[in-house]
C-alpha cells in the first residue's frame, strides 16, 4: 500500500508570533520554520506502517515556497521514500491545497493519505476533510489509533471521549496528538535523506488555480489580559473570589 503524507511548513510552535505593524499578517521573516507538529505525527504513523510491512512506499508532499524542501527532507529523514514539492509563494487555502493534493492522488494512486488534523498557523482544521470530499473518499479525522486490515479502523478523539469508525480504502486519516510520539531522525538517516529524490511541480502543472477565496482585510493583536494580583493564602483567594470577583 502506498501512503501519501502532506507536510506543511509552518512557524515553529515555540515562536511567539508578532502581528505586523501594518495589519496585513504576522511577521514570518527570519523566524524559525518547522514541519507542522501534527504532520510529524502523520509521517511517524506512515513509517510505522511501513516498518510493519503494511505500507510499501511513503511519498511526502508539501505545498509552499522552495524552502519547504526542508520539511520534505525532514520527512525523508524520518523514513519517507521520496518527496514532491508543489512550489508556490503566497497564501494557499485548504480548498486549493486539497485540489492540488487531489491531482497528486490521481497521479500517485495511494491507498491512504495520512495528514495532520490541523496546521498550527492558520488553525483551520479543514484540509483532510476537504480532500476526502473532493475524492469521494471516507475520512477518519482526529485519529488516536489506526488499524489497517481489510479497510481501515480509526479511533477518533471526539468531544465526549473516543469513537471508532470503519472506513473502506482508499481513505483519508488526519492525525491527532495521541496517535504516536514522532521519532527524531538519526544522523545516518538525515545523511541518507539527502540522496532521496524530491520532484518539483507548479500548481499550474496540476491544473489548480491557487487564488484564495478569503480576503484578509486585517490582522490585529487580540486584546491583552492584564496580570492581576498575587494572593498570600487560600483564605484570601476564596475571600477575593467571593467578595471582589463575585464568581463563587
Amino acid at each position: 500500500m502506498k501512503i501519501l503524507v502532506p507536510v506543511k511548513r509552518v512557524v515553529d510552535y515555540n515562536v511567539k508570533v508578532r502581528v505586523k505593524a501594518d495589519g496585513t499578517g504576522v511577521e514570518t521573516a527570519n523566524v524559525k520554520m518547522s514541519m507542522n507538529p501534527f504532520d510529524e505525527i502523520a509521517v511517524e504513523e506512515a513509517v510505522r506502517l511501513k516498518e510493519k510491512g503494511t505500507a510499501t512506499e511513503i511519498v511526502a508532499v508539501s505545498i509552499g515556497p522552495a524552502a519547504a524542501q526542508e520539511q520534505i527532507r525532514t520527512a525523508l529523514a524520518m523514513g519517507a521514500d521520496r518527496g514532491i514539492l508543489v512550489e508556490h509563494d503566497g497564501i494557499v487555502e485548504p480548498l486549493a491545497v486539497a485540489k492540488m493534493l487531489k491531482a497528486l492522488v490521481a497521479k500517485e494512486s495511494p491507498q491512504l493519505v495520512l495528514m495532520g488534523k490541523q496546521a498550527i498557523d492558520d488553525d483551520m482544521n479543514a484540509t483532510g476533510q476537504m480532500l476526502a470530499a473532493l475524492l469521494g473518499w471516507p475520512q477518519g479525522t482526529f485519529a488516536s489509533k489506526v488499524e489497517v486490515a481489510d479497510g481501515i479502523k480509526v479511533t477518533r478523539e471526539v468531544d465526549g471521549g473516543l469513537e471508532t469508525v470503519a472506513l473502506k480504502l482508499p481513505a483519508i486519516v488526519t492525525a491527532d496528538l495521541r496517535l504516536n510520539e514522532p521519532r527524531y531522525a538519526s544522523l545516518p538517516n538525515i545523511m541518507k535523506a539527502r540522496k532521496k529524490p524530491i520532484e518539483t511541480v507548479k500548481p499550474a502543472d496540476l491544473g489548480v488555480d491557487p487564488a484564495p477565496r478569503l480576503t484578509v482585510l486585517k490582522v490585529e493583536e487580540p486584546p491583552k489580559r492584564q496580570a492581576g494580583v498575587k494572593v498570600g493564602s487560600v483564605q484570601e483567594l476564596v475571600e477575593k473570589l467571593r467578595t471582589e470577583a463575585k464568581v463563587i
Binding site: V19, L95, D121, V158
Partner: protein, 307 residues
C-alpha cells in the same frame, strides 16, 4: 438570507455550543433553521428563540461525516449560510460540505462583521484576522466561547423531516467510549478547574474532583496531563483541544504555554496556582497563588466547605 445551523448531537437537549452557533446566525441576520441528526434533539431545538424551522434527518445517529455532508449539500441550495458549532462534530463535517460545494470553509468564527465578513483567531490565538469571503454559500464553524448562547426556551418552531440524502456507504460506526458525564460539560461549564503536569499521576489528578464538586465545576487538563495519561483526551483545553470561556477558570500546576492559553484566555476570571512564581500563567491570571498544588488543593476544598 436564510441560515441553516447543524446541531451537535446532545441527546434530547441542545448543546450550549449549538446555542452559540444559533446566536452567531442571528447576528448574521435573516431566517434561522436548525438541522438535527437523529430524532432526539428536535423538540428542544424547536424551543430555541428565533428559530423558524427545525429539520430532522432520520438515520445517521452517529453523525458520520460522509452521509451528513451529503445531506447538507442537498439542502444547501436553500441557504446563504451553513453553520455548525466548532465541536469535533462540526469540524469533522463542515469542511467536507464546503469542499463538495467548492467553497472555502471558515473555521472557528469568533466575530460577525457582516454577511460575508468574519473574524477568527490564527496562530494559537496570537492574532485575530478579519476575513471576507467571495464564496456564494458561506460554510463555517463557530467558536462557541465568542458568542453568548441563545436561551434554551422561548420559541416554537415547526418541525419537519429533512429530505433523504444518499449515504455514500464508505464508512460505518464501530463503537464509542464516551465517558458518562457526572459534572457540567467542559465547554458549557460556569466554572472550570484544570490540572497540569504537576498533578503527577492519574490518582493524584482525582484530588481535583473534591474542589470541582464544591464549585459545581467541570474538570479540564493541559496537554501534558492528557499525554501522560492523567486525564482523558476530551478534557484537553487549548489550541488543539477545547476552547472554554467560563466565568472562573482555575489552573493548578499549569505553566501557561501559549497553546494552553489559546483555550482559556477568554475566561472572565482566571486563577493560577503554581509553585514557580515566574510561571507565564501568572501573566494572564487575575489572582495568582504561589504554592504547591498538593497543599493548596486540599486547603481550598476545606475553605470552600466553610460558609
Amino acid at each position: 438570507m436564510t441560515i441553516l445551523v447543524l446541531a451537535d448531537r446532545a441527546g434530547a437537549a441542545v448543546s450550549q455550543p449549538t446555542r452559540s452557533a444559533v446566536a452567531a446566525a442571528q447576528q448574521i441576520g435573516g431566517e434561522v433553521h436548525v438541522l438535527v441528526l437523529g430524532q432526539d434533539g428536535a423538540e428542544a431545538a424547536a424551543k430555541l428563540p428565533g428559530v423558524a424551522k427545525v429539520l430532522v434527518a432520520a438515520g445517521n445517529d452517529h453523525a458520520l461525516a460522509e452521509p451528513a455532508a451529503a445531506l447538507l449539500v442537498a439542502l444547501a441550495p436553500g441557504y446563504t449560510h451553513l453553520l455548525a458549532p466548532g465541536s469535533a462534530m462540526g469540524k469533522n463535517i463542515m469542511p467536507r460540505v464546503a469542499a463538495l460545494l467548492d467553497v472555502q470553509v471558515i473555521s472557528d468564527v469568533a466575530g460577525v462583521e457582516g454577511a460575508d465578513t468574519f473574524r477568527r483567531f490564527i496562530y494559537a490565538g496570537n492574532a485575530l484576522a478579519t476575513v471576507k469571503t467571495s464564496d456564494a454559500t458561506k460554510v463555517m464553524t463557530v467558536r462557541a466561547a465568542s458568542f453568548d448562547p441563545v436561551a434554551a426556551e422561548g420559541g416554537s418552531a415547526a418541525i419537519e423531516p429533512a429530505p433523504a440524502a444518499e449515504d455514500p456507504g464508505v464508512s460505518s460506526f464501530v463503537g464509542a467510549e464516551i465517558a458518562k458525564l457526572e459534572r457540567p460539560e467542559l465547554t458549557a461549564a460556569r466554572i472550570v478547574v484544570s490540572g497540569g503536569r504537576a498533578m503527577g499521576s492519574a490518582d493524584n489528578f482525582k484530588i481535583l474532583e473534591g474542589v470541582a464538586d464544591k464549585l459545581g465545576a467541570a474538570i479540564g487538563a493541559s496537554r501534558a496531563a492528557v499525554d501522560a495519561g492523567y486525564a482523558p483526551n476530551d478534557m484537553q483545553v487549548g489550541q488543539t483541544g477545547k476552547i472554554v470561556a467560563p466565568e472562573l477558570y482555575i489552573a493548578f500546576g499549569i505553566s501557561g504555554a501559549i497553546q494552553h492559553l489559546a483555550g482559556m484566555k477568554d475566561s472572565k476570571v482566571i486563577v493560577a496556582v503554581n509553585k514557580d512564581e515566574e510561571a507565564p500563567i501568572f501573566q494572564v491570571a487575575d489572582y495568582g497563588l504561589v504554592g504547591d498544588v498538593f497543599k493548596v488543593i486540599p486547603e481550598l476544598e476545606a475553605e470552600l466547605g466553610k460558609k
